[in-house]
Every structure is written in C-alpha cells, then in structure tokens.
C-alpha cells in the first residue's frame, strides 16, 4: 500500500527521514498514514470550513504507544493534534500542516466497570454512548449526553468539557470525571484523580477538562456512573410566541424546579427535526419546549403537574406528555438528530453561546434581527434550561464570500451573548472557530495567566497548536512572555 513511501508535500521534505524510521520502530505499518489521500481524510472535522492536511496520521492502540510517539515528536519538535471521532463543531481536531494527528479511535476498550464505586474506566476512544450502553443492562448510565454521543469519544468530551441536553441536572463532563491518564508533550504518562470525589491538592482534573487537548493527550478516563432513574418522561409544550416560551423556561427554573432537560426549538428547527424523525412535533407553533422529568411515577406526575401549571400562564397552544418509552425515544431522537437533519435543507454554522436565562427572549429576538440584516435564515435549537444557545445560521457554502459573511454574523451573535452577561461557548469549545473572539471575554491579564498555565504543561506549544487563544496573542506570548500586542499588531 506504499505506507512508508515518502510524503509528497513541501513540509514533509523538511522533516528528517529518521523521524519516519523512529516512528516505524514503535508502530505497526497500518498505524501510520502517510499517503495523501489517507491524510486528506483527516484534514477536517465537523467544521469543514477549515481544513489543513497533516504531515501524518498515527493510530495508536495503547497509552504506551501514545507516549512513545509523543517522545519522538518531542525530539523532532513535531506538533501533535489529538483526535477522537472528529465530531468537533469548533475545528478542535483540525491539524496544522507540520503536525501529526494522533487519532485515538482505535483505543476503544472499556477497561473496568466498578459498580461498587460507580465508576467506569475506559480508553480515550470509547464513544460517549458506548459507556452508557455497557452499563445499561445493570441499570446505570453516564450522564453527559452531547447530541453527537453516538459517535463522539470520551477524550473529545473531556477536551471540550462537553455538555448535552441532560446536563441541566447532572452537570457537564467535568462534574462527571474522576480520573484521567494523560500523556504529556514530552511523552511522560501522568495520572490525575482517582475513584473518589475529592482529590488531594490542586484540582488538576478541572483544569484538564476543557483544555482542548492543549495540556496533554488523555488516553484513559475514569468517569462517574449513575443509577438510571425509575422512570423518565418528556413533555412537549408548543407556543405561538417565542417570548412566551422563553419566559416559561425562566419561570420554571425560577420556581426551583430542575427538570433533567429543557430543550428549545423554533419553527424552522421543528420542521426539519419532524421531517427526519416523525416524532409528532407540532408544526404550527413558533416555539417548542421539550422538557424531561424523571423519578418515580409519583414524582414525575407531581413535577409535570407543576410544570403544566406554570406553563398555563403562558398559554401554550400544544401540550403532549409521552405515554410510552417508545414515544419518549422518538421525541428525543428528533431533537438529538437536529444538527445532522439540518443538512437536509442547508449548510449551517452552529453557534454555541451562553446567556443568562432572564435574557432569553430578548436575545432570541436580537439574533433574528442580526441574521435578518445579513439575509441569513436561522434555526434555533438549544438547551434552554442552562441558557446554552445553538443558533444554526444557514448559508450556501458554494457561494463565494458566504463563509466569511456567515462567520461575521456568528461573531455578532456571540458578542451579543457576552453583552447579555453570557459567554461565547457553552459546550463545543473554542477550537479554531472562536479563538479570535476570545478577547470579547478576556483581557490581556486573563490571557497571560491562561497562557502561563498552557506553557507549564506544554513549553514548546506543540499540543493542538493554534487553538483556543487568538493567534497573534499566543505568538506574542511565545516571543515576549506577554500576550500584550504591540500597536502594529493590535
């Protein structure tokens, strides 16, 4: 297959041949992808607007192999880009052309399940859903559930500190993570945490969760398992008025009710999801709330009554409580497939801003104004319970200049979120997509402190390079020790 033929690009020409020889010593031939067509398959993730062909792709099967590759990369000063399933919507797995992609999808074994301590220890490439599936029969599950949970890997979840619909009650990845095994930039294997809640010393786990692969390469994780509730039931509430739906969410939360999930869809989103899943969503409403409560039948009934009572103040035009497990599954299937189903009608850019709940209806109104000013259609589908918005801005990727325009539109929306007292990313991470928007949120002092931490773990800035921090600022920091830009650069 010509696996070890010379890489035919100008970057590879600058790499000493001994690099390939050294890699070959620690890897089997089918673990190293060098041919152009093979590398191309790894040039992008779920944000295809950005693509860069890597120098090579390596598919390690053990922590030791990851460490060996990291050690070699350290010696040759080669950047490393860790990749799970490549489902990032922020370009988290997009490489640079001098980097080697470390694809961990073959590390997909569940190492240990410990019901006494309610933990699962898994390899980095195990998918989010596979953990829940492995313990389902015994009545347990892993709580964070990003929409891509079918495919996305646990290490990717840790990198982006992923959330999901059910995080309203159970928290995001960091709240469900107990330990990680992590390979450092120079190939050491470190372990953080244990199968207990309160680790001794600094809480490094919280630092690693959400570090977007910039501090180390996670190869193993121990996560928390939870008992499945006795039952769970979603309810659908349709409104003729977006404001009413937004206010209804705010009041439900305001009354101290914490459902497992509150999901919001507007009219365009409802239509797309219904066409795909046939979940019975009402097509004649402006906003649809999908609220799920769980517990015993009595608890569920009580919570639903309370929610219905609050909702009635906002005149919902549609009310439906799922009556069977199948019905509940279809209702969720529609919501979870939303992003992909959107592809049926258009390309889209998926935003990930967060706002305080109290601002929901005003922000939604402004989002629609912003998109209108750019002449883009927008569909809103998001976790309303925690104020995590996902406006999907539809655009035509084949039309020249559209990608730049849609990014500008997106930036305005994120700026709006920050002004409303929120932030630019809820759960998708910064990646490439939002790195230059970070100054909306942080000042130079914030950046300096964050970059000092990054530099501590990764002194040569070789791990998942060019992500998270604004390019110019991270360059300035590497050159001068401060992210403060000179006047020419700013």
């Amino acid at each position: 297959m010509g696996i070890f033929t010379t890489v035919s690009n100008r970057v590879a020409a600058k790499v000493p041949r001994s690099l390939w020889r050294d890699l070959k010593e620690v890897l089997k031939p089918d673990q190293l992808i060098l041919d152009e067509s093979g590398r191309r398959a790894y040039e992008t993730d779920a944000l295809t607007a950005y693509k860069v062909m890597p120098l090579a792709v390596i598919m390690p099967e053990t922590t030791e192999e990851v460490a060996a590759v990291a050690e070699i990369a350290h010696r040759y000063s080669i950047p490393l880009v860790p990749r799970g399933a490549g489902t990032s919507l922020a370009g988290g797995a997009v490489p640079i052309e001098t980097a080697i992609v470390l694809c961990l999808s073959r590390m997909n074994k569940i190492i240990d399940i410990d019901y006494t301590n309610r933990t699962a220890t898994v390899e980095a490439g195990v998918t989010n859903l596979a953990i829940s599936q492995a313990v389902d029969r015994d009545g347990y599950f892993y709580a964070p559930d990003p929409s891509s949970q079918l495919a996305c890997t646990i290490a990717g979840n840790i990198a982006m500190n992923s959330g999901g619909a059910h995080c309203l009650k159970y928290g995001v990845t960091t709240h469900n993570l107990l330990a990680v095994k992590m390979v450092t930039a120079d190939g050491q294997v470190l372990e953080f945490g244990g199968s207990f809640f309160d680790p001794i010393g600094y809480d490094f786990l919280s630092l690693i969760a959400g570090s977007e692969g910039g501090l180390g390469i996670v190869t193993e994780a121990t996560v928390m398992l939870r008992s499945k509730p006795e039952g769970a039931r979603p309810i659908l509430l349709g409104f003729d008025d977006i404001d009413a739906a937004g206010d209804c969410v705010a009041e439900i939360i305001g009354e101290g009710i914490i459902p497992v999930a509150i999901e919001f869809m507007d009219r365009p989103a409802i239509k797309v999801c219904e066409e795909f899943a046939g979940a019975g969503y009402p097509l004649d409403v402006e906003a649809l709330l999908l609220i799920e409560v769980e517990g015993s039948d009595e608890e569920i009934d009580a919570a639903l009554q309370q929610i219905l009572r609050i909702a009635s103040k906002f005149n919902p035009s549609h009310k439906r409580i799922a009556t069977s497990a199948e019905e509940a599954a279809t209702i969720w299937h529609g919501r979870k497939s939303a992003f992909g189903a959107m592809g049926r009608i258009s390309e889209y850019l998926c935003m990930d801003g967060v706002i305080p709940l109290s601002k929901l209806s005003t922000v939604l109104e402004k989002i629609s104004e912003i998109c209108k000013s750019y002449k883009f259609e927008v569909a809103n589908i998001f976790h309303a319970g925690d104020g995590n918005l996902h406006p999907l801005i539809m655009y035509d990727a084949n039309k020249p200049g559209e990608i730049e325009r849609v990014e500008k539109c997106g930036a305005e929306i994120l700026e709006l979120c920050v002004l409303a007292g929120g932030c630019i990313t809820g759960e998708h991470g910064v990646g490439i997509e939002k790195r230059d928007l970070m100054p909306l949120q942080f000042d130079t002092l914030d950046f300096d402190n964050q970059m000092r931490i990054k530099q501590l773990f990764d002194p040569d800035w070789r791990l998942n390079p060019n992500k998270v921090f604004p390019l110019k600022m991270s360059q300035a920091f590497q050159d001068t020790g401060s992210s403060l830009l000179s006047e020419d650069d700013a």
């Binding site: 041919d35 598919m59 399933a85 891509s148 992909g340 189903a341």
Partner: protein, 449 residues
C-alpha cells in the same frame, strides 16, 4: 459540505447526482459509529464519512481512483447502516455505487484480487456453473491451508464457506407453478436466488408452501436470473444492467399471460437491488414505465405476508429464536418489524441481538474478498448470539445464514423455514434435534385441553 465542481462537470448527470449527495452531508460523523467496518478498523478512511470525503476529492479533481480509495472502498460492506443513522439523508448507496464503477474501470487492484472478482462474477450468478463450482469446492476444501500459505486468502475464504453436503434435494425442482389447493386469490413470481437454490433450496420450498397454503399461486420461472446485486457491488454496472433487463423481460412475459400481484424475494440482499432497478436502469431509454410498473410489485416475502392472517400455528413451539435482520432488510429496505411479527404470531419467542444494526460480515461476496474484517464481524455476531443462547437463529438472507452458520455454534435458518414448519411444513434442516421437544410440547398441550 462545500463542493468544487465546475459548471461543465455538473452537466454530467453522475457528477450532478454526486454533487447533490455531497451537499447534503454536513460531515457530522454520526455515521462512523454505526459503520460495520469502522467499528472494527477504527479508521476514518474505513468510515462512510471518510469514504465520502475521498470520493469527493476523486470526482472533483477528475483523477483516477488511487490505491487508498480502492482499498477502503473495497473494505466497505455496503451494509448501509450509515444510511439508517444519517440524519441528513445522505444517499451513500448510490454514491458508493458510482465510486465502485469508477474503481472497477480505473482503480489499481492486484491481479490476485481481479482474478477472484472475475471468478465470482462469472460463476455465482449462474446456478449451473455455481453447482459445479460447489462440487469442485468440496473436493478442494482440504487444500485451504495451502492456498492461505500461498497468499490466496480470498480463495481460501471461498472454500471455507462451501457448505458440507446436507439433504439438499429440492421439493420444487426447476421452474413451474405451485397452485394452491383451495381458492386462489393472488398470483406471484418467486425469485429463487442464484446461490440459494443450490446451497439451501429448502428456503424456496418453504416459501412456496407457505404462500400456496394462503391461496397464492406461486410461479418459479427459469427465465428469471440473477438480480445483478453481485455485479453491482463489484462495480460491474453493465453486467448488472444486463441481468436486470433479462429479469424485466421475463416478468413482462409472465404479466402478458395474466396479471402478477407480486414479485417475491426471499433473499433480502437481492431485494435491495431489485427495488433499486429504477435507479440502475435510469439511463436505459424507453423502459421507464415498465421499470416503474414492476418495481412497485417487488416485495420481500415478509412484507408480502405481513397482512395475511395465518390463524393458529399447527404446532405451537416454545422455541427461543434469535432474530438477525439482514442489513439489506433493515437498512437497505427499511423492513423492521414484519419478520418478528410473523414469527411471534406463529408462536416463537423472539430475542433481538445487541448491535443488531452491525453487519454479520457476509455482505454478498465480502466474506470472500475481505476475509479479515468479515471474520471479525462474524465472531462479534456469534458472541452476541451466544449471549442470548437461542434454540435457533433466524435470518432473511442466505448470505447471513451461511456466515453465521460458519461462526456460530447455534443452528441458523431462514425465517420462512420456521414459519413453514409452524404451519405444517417439515422440520427445517439442522433442527431435527428440536423436533422431539416440540412434539412433547404438543402432547402436553393436547392433554391439557
């Protein structure tokens, strides 16, 4: 996804179709998780998303398929599990068909592989040749290790799959018409499958009896032949079209005698491809109406029988049946509940398998051409079957039947054989050891009455 075709390229119908397919794909990656080759290989290039991306590059640049694309397309099982998963409705089936045609024409393949593919294409669709090959295969079976050692792992895999001779004499030999005893109310044609009528003719016998008992006249025609699936999956489009046209002519001749109520298929792999004739034959001018007319009459036997009231089973068994729906049924034809419902109505206890959406590794000629992944998938399926510990495994396609029979210790039959047995037919081949238990149950039931 963004595409980069020129206006001139888009005047080509195939490229226009491909462009529409690419534009639907948002590269979300959900398909990777349920892809039968990705779950084994864990490699983007062995996933639908990776293949789509590589095909896009090939078509956009107009370059010939390279070794990498050829290798990874060949490793695709065409189970179409990705199409069930894909929320964007990306038509991977027709895109991969297109790529395969391109690869077959211009792709680099070693002689060994080309030879094996040629052999399969010129033998399997022709029952007489196939019967001879099976006899030869039985003689050659002991030489498998030699072939493997000599690097002919595909030929070795082929011999591995040659079944030992069972009681194979078919009840309904050759062509003919099975007329129901009572009143006849429908007339159908049964497509008997090229390999099926040689390897396990009992499936056709059972299908005929089952339908005739319901007042259906069943025609088996010598003039119909291979559905074309085998050639289509190998990218031999013109051969596939030839097979399809021959079938159309045979159907037309039968329809000229008297109206046909259905073209019944009991090998779901064939069903997927026959139902796709309108696409396969889209460029053959002047037969559009004929194709549409007949393709509306194509049914998997489980679909056709789903509305029938079979009444009480003649013998009510307490058998535990692990049901494996073939990918061609579940993903290719979106048939989900009919086989289970029919079996349950006939008194069987149905158990579904974990990872039911993943292929058993048979996938037409895949277990011959890609023995490594096929074996791993076969063992995986066998492990899921073992967890259920069934009395028998039921499926709806000969390929799966052979593959699972090879990897699992549990007997595997076609679901029509179980149905036929329950409604008065003979005990299926390989389940003789269960007949006693069923008889005992019948006696107890009688006593209790």
């Amino acid at each position: 996804m963004k595409t980069e075709f020129t206006k001139r390229q888009l005047r080509n119908d195939n490229l226009q179709m491909a462009n529409d397919i690419f534009r639907r794909c948002v590269h979300c990656g959900l398909c990777t998780a349920t892809c039968s080759s990705y779950v084994v290989a864990g490699d983007e290039r062995d996933s639908p998303r990776g293949r789509i991306y590589m095909i896009k590059e090939m078509l956009e640049t107009g370059s010939a398929p390279d070794a990498s694309l050829t290798h990874h397309m060949d490793r695709c099982l065409t189970c179409l599990s990705c199409m069930t998963t894909c929320p964007s409705g990306v038509d991977y089936m027709h895109l991969s068909d297109l790529a395969r045609v391109e690869i077959e024409k211009r792709g680099p393949r070693p002689f060994r592989i080309r030879f094996t593919r040629g052999l399969l294409s010129s033998v399997m669709p022709y029952p007489r040749r196939f019967a001879v090959a099976m006899s030869l295969g039985r003689l050659a079976r002991p030489f498998r290790p030699l072939l493997k050692a000599a690097g002919f792992k595909e030929l070795a895999a082929m011999l591995e799959l040659v079944p030992k001779r069972g009681k194979q004499s078919p009840e309904f030999k050759g062509g003919g018409v099975a007329r129901p005893r009572g009143q006849q109310h429908r007339r159908v044609l049964l497509m008997t499958g090229c390999a099926q009528k040689i390897v396990r003719p009992a499936i056709n016998d059972a299908s005929i009896r089952l339908m005739a008992r319901q007042g259906i006249e069943v025609i088996v025609s010598q003039d119909t032949g291979c559905c074309g699936a085998l050639d289509m999956h190998m990218g031999r489009e013109s051969a596939a079209i030839k097979h399809a046209r021959r079938n159309l002519e045979a159907w037309q001749a039968l329809e000229d005698e008297a109206p046909l109520d259905g073209i019944i298929i009991n090998a779901s792999g064939c069903g997927t491809s026959v139902k796709d004739y309108p696409h396969l034959l889209q460029n053959v001018k002047g037969i559009e109406e004929q194709v549409a007319h007949f393709s509306a009459k194509v049914y998997d036997i489980s679909e056709f029988l789903a509305d029938y009231n079979f009444g009480m089973a003649e013998q009510w068994t307490d058998l535990n049946v692990a049901l494996h729906l073939p990918c061609s049924m579940m993903h290719g034809q979106k048939i989900s509940y009919q086989p289970m419902q029919l079996l349950q109505n006939a008194g069987f206890n149905i158990h579904t398998l974990d990872e039911a959406h993943i292929c058993c590794g048979s996938a037409g000629t895949y277990n011959i051409l890609q023995p490594d992944i096929a074996n791993e998938l076969g063992q995986r399926k066998a492990a899921h079957i073992a967890r259920v510990k069934p009395d028998v495994v039921a499926t709806g396609n000969l390929g799966c039947l052979t593959q699972m029979g090879h990897h699992s210790v549990y007997p595997v039959v076609h679901f029509v054989e179980l149905l036929d047995w329950a409604y008065g037919g003979p005990c299926p081949d390989g389940l003789e050891h269960l007949q006693d238990r069923v008889d005992r149950l019948a006696k107890t039931n009688k006593r209790n009455k």
